[in-house]
């Protein structure tokens, strides 16, 4: 990955995105001012608490928003090479869902959803489902498409691909379904591949294989990848950059080393500390105390303050801006204000960081 991203290579730029949902108990402010950039050939990982807005953000890129949801403000600019071979930028928030589906889904932007059954058609064989997009977008003949579909099934690690080609989703195990969805996404060589928890149902061996396959194809065709995952092992393996979300905002971002070896936001500390570690033997896992804020209510100040052992008065009064802490590293926490007292990450985490750093250098 090149150290400097050139604006020419920017494929996606999200600014001040605000999204809310109407529910029986009121309006849920799910996304509160998200800003995100994505460049050709790179991989970013979006991590964060369950319900923090990761899936809603990326689904909006694809033009998928539940009926009770609305975009209150913001833009999602996508830059691509159009049918005439010219560079074009469109604001996805200004297009209709139908238009996005028709012009972009599958072909330019492909997504692997969190719940594989929701994106597979139970009445159609998996082979047909993989071929569909190739015939439509790449103008392949049926026999060419079939050949590639079987090849893709084999590459995502499905044994007996010829036989599986003719099976229906319910005849496959959970992990196989997930791999079929990945094969469908890769089939049309998109510019942007969005993977929402792509490997949660996969055992570690297959997981490694899939991640390597995506990397391999990415190296050939330079598409950009957004991974949403809670598995920090996956992040460590694939990501160039990491965005950490909390309560509808990105609260820390940076390159992979900055986030893993020098995290600054107390939420990120908690996240890294709650990882189970096969090298230690404590019997209880660390969980960040408290609960996420109620998104039905207006949040004043830093949304993480009530759970932050280091919270200051200002945290309850004003929302922190994104502080530039050097390099590509940005942190939305008042602790990074020069006037704030210096606080250190918890000892347990510090020890782990130290150990990781050593391991990384020694190996």
């Amino acid at each position: 990955m090149s150290a400097n991203r050139s604006l020419d290579d920017r494929v996606l730029s999200i600014r001040d995105l605000n999204i809310s949902f109407d529910t029986a108990s009121g309006t849920v402010h799910a996304i509160r001012g998200v800003r995100m950039d994505l460049f050709r050939g790179e991989t970013i990982a979006v991590v964060g608490e369950s319900g923090s807005g990761k899936s809603v953000t990326v689904k909006t890129i694809m033009g998928i928003l539940a009926n009770n949801g609305h975009i209150d403000s913001g833009s999602i600019n996508y830059t691509f090479i159009n049918e005439k071979g010219e560079k074009e930028t469109v604001d996805m928030t200004k297009l209709s869902q139908k238009e996005i589906r028709y012009r972009f889904c599958g072909k330019h932007i492909a997504m692997v959803f969190q719940d594989p059954m929701t994106s597979l058609d139970p009445t159609m064989t998996v082979g047909k489902q993989i071929m569909e997009g190739m015939i439509l977008h790449l103008n392949l003949s049926r026999s060419e498409a079939k050949k590639r579909a079987i090849d893709l099934l084999a590459r995502v690690g499905i044994e007996n691909p010829e036989k599986r080609f003719n099976e229906y989703p319910h005849q496959l195990s959970g992990g196989m379904r997930q791999r079929v969805v990945i094969a469908i996404a890769l089939a049309c060589e998109p510019d942007i591949l969005i993977c929402d928890e792509p490997t949660t149902a996969l055992d570690v061996t297959i997981q490694a294989k899939i991640l390597e396959l995506i990397k391999e194809i990415q190296a050939e065709s330079h598409f950009a990848v957004i991974y949403i995952t809670h598995d920090l092992g996956v992040v460590a393996k694939v990501a160039d950059y990491v965005d950490v979300m909390y309560a509808g905002r990105i609260i820390e971002k940076g390159d992979i080393d900055e986030i893993f070896y020098d995290p600054r936001h107390p939420y990120t500390w908690g996240l890294l500390a709650s990882m189970p570690d096969t090298d230690t033997d404590s019997t209880r896992l660390f969980a960040i105390p408290g609960t996420p804020p109620n998104l039905l209510e207006k949040i004043t100040g830093d949304a993480f303050a009530p759970r932050n052992p280091f919270a200051m008065k200002i945290d309850y009064m004003a929302e922190p801006p994104m502080f530039d802490v050097g390099g590509k590293h940005r942190v939305a926490s008042w602790l990074c204000d020069p006037r704030a007292p210096k606080v250190e990450m918890p000892d347990q985490l510090k020890d782990r960081m130290e150990k990781m750093r050593k391991e990384g250098i020694l190996e």
Partner: protein, 315 residues
Amino acid sequence: MNIDKTKEPLLHVEGLKQHFRTSSRYVTKAVDGISFDIWAGETYGLVGESGSGKSTTGRAIIRLYDPTAGKIIFDGHDISGKMAKEDEKYLRTNMQMIFQDPMACLNPRKKVKEIIAQGLEIHRLYTDQADLDQKVNAIIEKVGLSPEHATRYPHQFSGGQRQRIGIARALVMNPRLVIADEAISALDVSIQAQVVNLMKDLQDELGTTYLFIAHDLSMVKYISDRIGVMHLGHIVETGTTDEIFENPVHPYTRSLLSAIPRPNPRVEKKRIALEYNKEKEGVDYTQGHLHQLTDTHAVLATDGEFKVWSKEHSY
């Protein structure tokens, strides 16, 4: 947790087979003759690669399928074959499953509180409406959801929130045995920790027993007392958590352990996992039998394989 192994196991599975006919010529042997016991108050982890038959095992035990062969005894009730009415009722109220694919098992037209209350209602496991509400609200909070979530529909949730609805629905029944199929894999680590701690608390309080199916070995290590490693429909190795992690004997177990991702980018970007290929190594599971290494640790192997594999070990 005290586990009394002099008692009968809570769940006894013997020679369980579950085959599916997928075409006129082809039968998938998803589960092909497995045996294991789980004692009350214990957590048995079932791990293994995708397609190895873990979910099928769980679904066969809770009788979503009619097993092809084998015996399943649950707390003294024979639940294999055609069940007596009373055995079936015992099964439905005392065994619950948390499913891998949460969306596929949540009725999209029902509100969350209705989904969670359903089991209690069907089996009349409450005294009055107030008791029912109290039970439902308590479990909603315990799995880390908030009260205002109770009136939403399943599609109005994030993936992890949805998975917790499935967990709440199973745990609200206070079952003796919970089959948790990848129950926490869509949760972020902090919520995972919260749910795992909740499961452990229930176990301490009520002696709940778990069959914990997962691919995430670090989480399995945390939660399990004993582990069974499944591959292609067979349990190839079983032992206490320590035995499996400290002294894996079967080459499949060893390759699985070597693939655990580490949350350390500088290590992870370079690491390559050990490969295991049953054909290349010439292993045929139907030829092997269980070799005991200790009272608790056993491996599926032929005599020849056992000799070679156990040589590298310290027993």
